[in-house]
């Protein structure tokens, strides 16, 4: 029997094994999640973390570049409220852009005397702006109160600005479209007079619509950017160009789909320009914002954006190659329209996704603070180990 240097029941010195994990001067237990408690267990079990799709790393996958972000949160709960907007708003982005693009190309067709193209584009604009109004009002929590939008004009609210843009554009686009009924009117009498006036009036209204259309196409980018939604706000410099290009491409797509081959020349060139603008700006939007660009690559929005890019490219190629084929031209137009719609839905959904994971809020803001150096000292201490921050007695007196 080995001797026992200690007497039973008498322990002058605490045994090393009895040291508590958070005794003064002792580092925190390794592996303790900063959130603590249930969250720590959920975290270590891999819950609440984004799973990589299919587990494989694709080319262009930002996860390959951006390391797994380390951050703290309140049990993994979102900091922001996800937008309450439904997909109506994504569709509105598309229809608003389509109306704008169509009106602009319609005015050009009118100047060039391409009657067939003009008619198709003006009617598209009317249909699209009508759909826009429907989507906007349907998305309100209190649709019957939509008129409250008209009680103020407020430059700090892009939605108020947009309401007034739409209020100016809508009737003009409508008048331009209605003037297309002129050929159906009798040549004499009161309606005959209307028939005579319809042409110039339609041209005037169409010109007015074409002038307000660029605002209609681009204000929606400010509407989205002027939020706390990380993936909408951060690319606020590119978003107006994405939407402008997408609007032009979709208007051109409608033109190629509806106009006779001979009158679709402008639309074809516009399609290439619009697609180029959209794809260039979207590339920046998707890649220049670090972690906040991630939602543009992952999940449904990522798939939609990739598909949209393919469709837009195919449409632009069809616009160049389809000069002699009505069928190819129409197919390219449809491809552009689908590409534009998918782009809008993808941007919408990427933003929504960025509000649901706290990392898109916490990590960039922490980085910002770190860059500013405001938390320099605290960060140093946090990196050294959480417990020391609380337990090093020599740091305070």
């Amino acid at each position: 029997m080995s001797e026992q240097p200690q007497m039973k029941g008498l322990r002058p010195e605490p045994l090393p094994s009895q040291a508590t994990p958070h005794q003064a001067g002792q580092p925190d237990r390794p592996g303790t999640d900063p959130v603590g408690g249930q969250a720590a267990r959920m975290w270590s079990a891999g819950m609440g973390r984004r799973r990589q799709e299919g587990g494989k790393r694709r080319r262009g996958d930002v996860n390959a570049v951006v390391p797994e972000a380390e951050f703290r949160s309140y049990y993994g709960r979102a900091v922001l409220k996800p937008p309450v907007w439904e997909h109506d708003i994504a569709y509105y982005l598309f229809t608003g852009g389509l109306a704008a693009g169509s009106s602009m190309l319609g005015a050009v067709a009118n100047l060039r005397g391409d009657v067939g193209a003009r008619r198709g584009l003006r009617l598209t604009a009317l249909g699209a702006v009508g759909a826009s109004a429907y989507f906007l009002i349907a998305d309100l929590g209190r649709p019957e109160r939509f008129y409250q939008m008209l009680r103020v004009a407020k430059p700090t609210s892009p939605m108020s600005v947009g309401t007034w843009i739409l209020s100016a554009y809508g009737p003009l686009a409508g008048a331009a479209a209605v003037s297309e009924v002129a050929p159906l009117l009798p040549r004499h009498g009161v309606l005959g007079l209307a028939r005579k006036v319809a042409g110039p009036a339609g041209a005037l209204a169409g010109a007015g619509a074409a002038l307000t259309a660029p605002l209609l196409a681009t204000y929606t980018a400010v509407l989205f950017a002027d939020t706390a939604v990380p993936s909408w706000h951060e690319p606020y410099r590119e978003l107006p160009f994405v939407f402008a290009g997408s609007a032009l491409a979709s208007g051109a797509g409608a033109g190629m789909l509806l106009a006779p081959l001979a009158q679709a020349g402008t639309a074809r060139t516009a399609a290439v320009i619009g697609a180029g603008l959209e794809l260039t700006a979207a590339h920046r939007m998707e890649n220049e914002h670090g972690l906040v660009s991630e939602p543009f690559h992952t999940g449904r929005p990522g798939r939609f954006l990739r598909t949209a890019r393919a469709l837009t490219l195919a449409g632009a190629a069809g616009a160049v190659l389809g000069r002699r084929s009505r069928l190819l031209s129409a197919a390219a137009g449809a491809s552009l329209l689908a590409g534009s719609l998918l782009t809008r839905v993808a941007v919408f959904e990427a933003g929504v996704a960025s509000t649901k994971d706290p990392k898109y809020v916490v990590v960039p803001q922490r980085q910002r603070l770190r860059d500013r150096g405001a938390l320099e000292q605290e960060d140093h201490r946090a990196e050294d180990g959480g417990a020391q921050q609380h337990s090093a007695p020599e740091t305070r007196t």
């Binding site: 009895q18 005794q23 959130v35 937008p83 409250q148 939008m149 609210s157 605002l215």
Partner: protein, 379 residues
């Protein structure tokens, strides 16, 4: 009225900036989380006074927070955070007592050895001369004094040798037998030292309130007290404010379609009364008053806590130079803001609005140029 800093930056008095000629002093909340006991009286008082509907009886399966956060039907929400850290410079229980540390390790060993302490106590007659301290039974049964080793305990001690040892040393037993010190049993992660953080969250009533800026109907407005309030008879539920708030506070009430949030009890303020939550708070964790005075009081409290060693105490939302121009409702926190679900560096989105409009103008111009180019360059 409108100034260069109307959208962002330092603004002395948002009420004056909003057009009030001679507004009363700006009012606000200082929520001192270091004295919050998580009683939720604020949540209840708020619901009662403002007739806020119930927000679902949920068990969220995280901490003791079953509210989950602020929303259309939760204008005050108490966050509960469980952490494996002591509060301030608090040390292990009984570390400085004559009896030494709490017997946490011992307790673990006892549990690990599968000893029924009550049974052992009755059989061994703990504390009786000739009896055996439970501590030693546990130590022997688990092969030494816990995982530390090196303490000299006979790891191979058998029951018989132990019995003889006990007989030999029975006379030397000086009391303080296997009485377990009150230390919590470790949880599944082996953590014992832990603290609770509790914080009653609320609308921040920002100096630069994004919700108010983006509201297209003028339903959200700045009161004479510098607070931000929704007029429910005007709100048409467009939901723009929900996306604009950098704190995730305001939300749309589903059954109703309109946006709702804390009003800082605008109706009570008008009568010179204290908001319901502050009135109900039993520990004065929620303090209401003139913002200038609250900021001073908060700084004193922070200093006081630092003086006694709670160096993790920090103010949040007090700085008039932060991204939202300072909050009307600000906090004293005991950890980083994101741990409480608050953004670490919120910025009012409308700060960048002038730049957004500029980019929009250029993009619109590009669109016009594109169409002109297409018209001219037509093949």
């Amino acid at each position: 009225m409108v100034s260069a800093n109307s959208l962002s930056g330092r603004l002395e008095d948002p009420a004056r900036d909003a057009g009030y000629v001679d507004p009363p002093p700006r009012k606000g909340f200082f929520t001192d989380t270091s004295v919050c006991i998580g009683c939720k009286a604020c949540e209840v008082a708020c619901k009662e006074w403002n007739a806020v509907p119930e927000d679902g009886i949920d068990l969220l399966g995280m901490s003791y927070d079953n509210t989950g956060g602020l929303g259309a039907d939760s204008w005050r929400a108490v966050a509960f955070i469980e952490q494996s850290r002591p509060v301030g410079n608090q040390t292990a229980p009984f570390a400085s007592a004559a009896t030494g540390h709490s017997a946490e390790q011992l307790q673990q060993d006892t549990v690990a050895a599968g000893i029924d302490v009550f049974d052992e106590a009755s059989r061994l007659g703990t504390g009786v001369p000739g009896g055996q301290p439970l501590a030693d039974v546990a130590a022997d049964a688990t092969g030494g004094c816990g995982s530390g080793g090196g303490c000299g305990c006979g790891t191979q001690a058998s029951a018989t040798t132990r019995a003889s040892g006990t007989a030999e040393q029975g006379e030397q037993f000086l009391g303080m037998p296997g009485m377990l010190a009150p230390a919590a049993l470790p949880d599944r992660d082996g953590r014992q030292s832990m603290r609770w953080l509790m914080m009653s969250n609320v609308c921040k009533h920002c100096t630069h309130a994004a919700c108010l800026d983006v509201c297209p109907t003028g339903s959200l407005f700045r009161t004479e007290f510098g607070t931000v309030v929704v007029q429910e008879d005007i709100c048409n539920g467009c939901g723009y404010c929900v996306s604009a708030c950098p704190y995730g506070v305001i939300d749309k009430r589903e059954v109703d379609g309109r946006a709702w949030k804390c009003t800082l009890c605008y109706d009570r303020l008008g009568e010179g009364d204290t908001p319901a939550c502050a009135k109900a708070c039993p520990t004065e964790s929620i303090q209401y008053g003139d913002l200038d005075e609250l900021r001073e009081r908060a700084e004193n409290r922070r200093q006081q806590l630092h003086d006694v060693g709670v160096t993790e105490a920090r103010l949040y939302g007090h700085d008039p130079d932060d991204g939202v121009g300072g909050d009307g409702a600000f906090f004293l926190l005991l950890d980083e803001p994101e741990v409480y679900g608050l953004p670490p560096d919120p910025v009012v989105t409308t700060r960048d609005l002038p730049s957004m409009y500029k980019h929009m103008a250029v993009a619109a111009g590009a669109m016009v140029l594109g169409v002109v180019a297409a018209a001219v360059g037509r093949r």
